[in-house]
């Protein structure tokens, strides 16, 4: 077993790889009365074309999400039936790149853990269950379609990405859901739901040795490993479409702007690239940024401008969202602001100081730390044990290089106008 010491904050994470290839991470804390378990399967909405053990497979959009719904069924009922009786909470979610099953409880930790591992790794799918779940999922899709902001977001993704499957709606659209078959479900399950394609993250007042021993015993019912290879058509560095305008049921004009860069064009690894990008975002659009004051004084947008990142397989898109009576004017102002932005060393040092405190605070709630651990495993495949050092060693020249990348990025925008 490996003990990963999180540098400078006196915390540690235990790591064990079971014989089947399942990675187990445990963060213990005596201060919580809740056990939290997250089983991450590395399959999401973007995985619709892949090779497994040499065989090529194509599936409709939305299968990973459909599969997540179906997995809760067992021969004896549903997983919820079991957990209801144990006083535990079970849920799951599907995103672009993962499906995560989550369970939390106050007691019977090992029983609840083994049950979760069992029901996820022992599928039970029938045509009747597929049809029942299809009705529920179609209602869920309708609910999402009612959300104009969500639709707007996905249209923006479609502007950005040509082939990258991160642009598709996680649950698919209605024609996808109607076309999914039992075979699609079974094929996807057989490809991705292998223990060597999973991570297990546990937090709580856990006896590490007892838990690992229990897991090793459970793991003896091994399933063959699989070698999965995503097939994606190459994604160009240029955007799919440079602009789009459409109308919908909204009360005000909305706009997204996207600056698409290829992180492989920098000398940084993924963790460093994302760290530098997030520092830049905070400097440009954070609460102490000049942009905030511009928004207040000049009022060229309604409220503030929001910045965030959209992730593709290899691309990062600095995305800006705002509402305004004059979208074109606001767009020019924001774009000029980015193109002329210069990093102020004092601002940078202050941000780093603030971030160091946040590292300590991130361990305050073990369950929340578990969630951030899951995010890191999904994005980077490892626990980040040196975030403190990375922050302290942020190099301004490198930061400027990343800033230049975004300034020269391929650009797209989308406008949403009221129908009436």
């Amino acid at each position: 077993m490996e003990i990963i010491n999180i540098k400078n904050v006196n915390e540690k994470v235990y790591h064990e790889i079971l014989p089947s290839g399942l990675n187990v991470y445990i963060y213990t804390s005596e201060l919580t009365n809740t056990y939290d378990m997250k089983l991450v399967v590395h399959v999401g909405s973007r995985d619709n074309h892949f090779k497994v053990n040499g065989k090529e497979v194509r599936i409709p959009n939305g299968v990973a999400h459909f599969l997540e719904h179906l997995t809760f069924n067992t021969k004896d009922g549903t997983a919820e039936d079991y957990y209801s009786k144990k006083g535990a909470y079970i849920n799951a979610s599907t995103s672009f790149d993962n499906t995560t099953y989550s369970c939390s409880c106050n007691d019977l930790f090992l029983d609840n853990l083994i049950y979760m591992l069992d029901f996820v790794t022992n599928p039970y799918y029938t045509s009747e269950l597929v049809e029942k779940e299809r009705g529920i999922i179609l209602e869920e899709i309708l609910m999402h379609m009612n959300d104009v902001d969500e639709k707007f977001y996905y249209k923006f993704c479609d502007n950005i990405f040509v082939n990258d499957t991160n642009k598709y709606q996680i649950g698919g659209i209605d024609i996808d859901v109607k076309s999914i078959t039992l075979d699609d479900i079974v094929n996807t399950y057989n490809c991705f739901y292998k223990k060597n394609n999973m991570d297990l993250v546990l937090t709580g007042n856990i006896d590490v040795n007892e838990t690992i021993n229990k897991l090793i015993e459970w793991d003896k019912k091994a399933i063959e490993k699989s070698i999965i290879e995503n097939i994606s058509d190459e994604e160009p560095d240029d955007v799919n479409r440079s602009e789009l305008t459409y109308k919908d049921n909204v009360s005000s004009n909305k706009m997204f702007i996207g600056y698409k860069v290829n992180k492989k064009n920098s000398k940084l690894n993924d963790i460093e690239f994302d760290l530098y990008s997030s520092i830049l975002l905070d400097l440009m659009f954070g609460e102490s940024s000049d942009m905030r004051l511009m928004c207040e004084k000049e009022q060229f947008v309604d409220g503030y401008v929001d910045g965030f990142f959209i992730n593709g397989f290899n691309h990062r898109v600095l995305s800006i969202e705002f509402e305004s009576d004059n979208l074109d004017y606001a767009y020019k102002k924001i774009d000029q602001y980015i193109k002329k932005f210069k990093i102020n060393i004092e601002d940078l040092e202050r941000k780093i100081k603030a971030s160091l405190a946040r590292i300590i605070i991130s361990f305050e709630n073990p369950e929340r730390y578990g969630s951030s651990l899951v995010n890191n495993l999904i994005k980077y495949g490892r626990v980040i044990d040196n975030y403190y050092d990375l922050l302290k060693n942020v190099d301004i020249n490198t930061l400027n290089d990343i800033l230049e990348m975004y300034k020269k990025a391929s650009l797209t925008y989308i406008k949403l106008l009221p129908k009436k």
């Binding site: 409880c105 529920i136 209602e139 009612n146 202050r350 160091l356 305050e364």
Partner: protein, 415 residues
């Protein structure tokens, strides 16, 4: 360990616990709910964080914040029956992790400097007004929020839920700087104030520092706090059409003449069994699992408003069926069995125990227990263990259907 520090114009409710790496201070301003003051209060509070006589502009305020290791601070407003509670809060890193002398003094001083030295100007006012109107429009763009507000205003124009907590457009539009200044003075001097303070090892000297900077000189403390509303009885079916792909259904049931225990414990359990967030809650089971007509359906009990609301989103063609199934499920609460009870109690216990893992929940439970509005977690756990099926079934006689609202989605759902 909990302790109340009593001062002339407010109390400080403190809780020492080693569970967290941060401290939380919440200044709770209690006022009777007043439609006319919703917009002006929201605007005033936002402006507090925009300009300040000491720290000047909003980015200076933020920079100072970052210098102090970036505490999480802002305000939050909520309604408790006939009262409105505005809370200015600050969550900051435990001083023991900071190797700076006087860190605690600096950060408390910063908080109260912000509160007591606002700079209200026309520019900020216009900015906040524009933001609020935009937000109001966004609220009304969301079908479930729109439906909720339309329902309550159709039912009773005087119901606090008939208008968003940020006010309405006309009230926002006509606000002046004088209105803001008047509201600030009233708010600071006339609100009833109760302060929460949670952290590791709360020392008397920490309390002294709060008292040194708080400067609340004219307020009165909350006495005999009773936020409960009168129940409205009406019996109507409301319907509206809009261009959405899915319909929203709201149903409301009155819950009258409940005892204190019923309000605080028994209804909690009734609600969890009927429409909690578990797939096995009766409503979810009936509408989603057995009939596949919705993704989710839940019930919400508000003891201060004396009602139970049931909410779901469904296709247009299933509206009548959904209503029928909901009535059936509510009546079926008469056939509760031991398993229903035990499972729901276990789910509730999980949530209750988990509430101590969150510093904000800790603060809230402590305050409302001190105000005699709720049982604390240990008391609830104990009472849940002793509750009988008959006690829960009896509630069915006290729950009466009031009205429903359907926002019919008339847009074609094909993608």
């Amino acid at each position: 360990m909990n302790k109340i520090y009593e001062f002339e114009h407010y109390n400080i409710h403190s809780k020492s616990t080693n569970k967290f790496k941060t401290f939380l201070i919440e200044i709770n301003f209690f006022n009777k709910f007043d439609f006319k003051r919703l917009a002006v209060r929201e605007t005033m509070l936002r402006m507090l964080f925009l300009n300040n006589k000491i720290y000047k502009t909003s980015i200076d305020i933020s920079k100072k914040c970052e210098d102090l290791y970036d505490p999480y601070m802002y305000f939050e407003r909520s309604r408790l029956g006939i009262f409105e509670v505005s809370t200015i809060f600050m969550k900051f890193i435990d001083p023991k992790y900071i190797n700076e002398e006087d860190y605690y003094d600096s950060i408390i001083k910063y908080l109260f400097n912000l509160i007591h030295n606002p700079e209200f100007n026309e520019e900020s006012l216009e900015f906040v007004k524009s933001s609020l109107i935009n937000e109001l429009n966004s609220i009304m763009d969301k079908p479930n929020k729109y439906a909720s507000i339309r329902f309550m205003s159709s039912l009773d124009k005087n119901d606090p839920r008939s208008i968003p907590l940020i006010g309405n457009k006309d009230d926002i539009d006509f606000l002046t700087i004088d209105d803001i200044k008047n509201e600030f003075n009233k708010f600071i001097n006339e609100s009833n104030i109760e302060i929460n303070f949670v952290g590791e090892e709360i020392k008397d000297e920490y309390i002294d520092i709060i008292n040194k900077y708080s400067n609340f000189k004219n307020n009165t403390k909350l006495i005999n706090f009773n936020p409960y509303r009168e129940t409205l009885f009406k019996n109507e079916e409301f319907k509206e059409e809009k261009e959405y792909t899915q319909s929203n259904l709201f149903m409301i049931f009155n819950c009258d003449d409940l005892t204190n225990k019923e309000k605080n414990i028994t209804m909690l359990l009734f609600n969890e069994i009927l429409g909690g967030f578990s797939v096995n809650a009766k409503l979810n089971y009936k509408l989603r699992e057995e009939n596949s007509i919705c993704y989710g359906v839940n019930s919400f009990y508000d003891k201060y408003d004396n009602d139970l609301r049931i909410v779901t989103s469904i296709s247009k063609e299933n509206i009548d069926k959904a209503k029928e199934l909901i009535f059936e499920t509510v009546n079926d609460m008469n056939n509760l069995d031991k398993e229903d009870m035990e499972n729901a109690i276990k789910r509730l216990k999980l949530g209750l125990k988990d509430s101590y893992n969150n510093i904000f929940s800790c603060a809230s439970i402590m305050l409302y227990k001190d105000l005699n509005l709720i049982y604390n977690v240990e008391e609830k756990l104990d009472l849940l263990d002793k509750i009988s099926i008959d006690e829960v079934k009896v509630l069915l006689n006290k729950i009466k259907y009031n009205s429903s609202f359907v926002l019919v989605g008339v847009k074609d759902g094909n993608n």
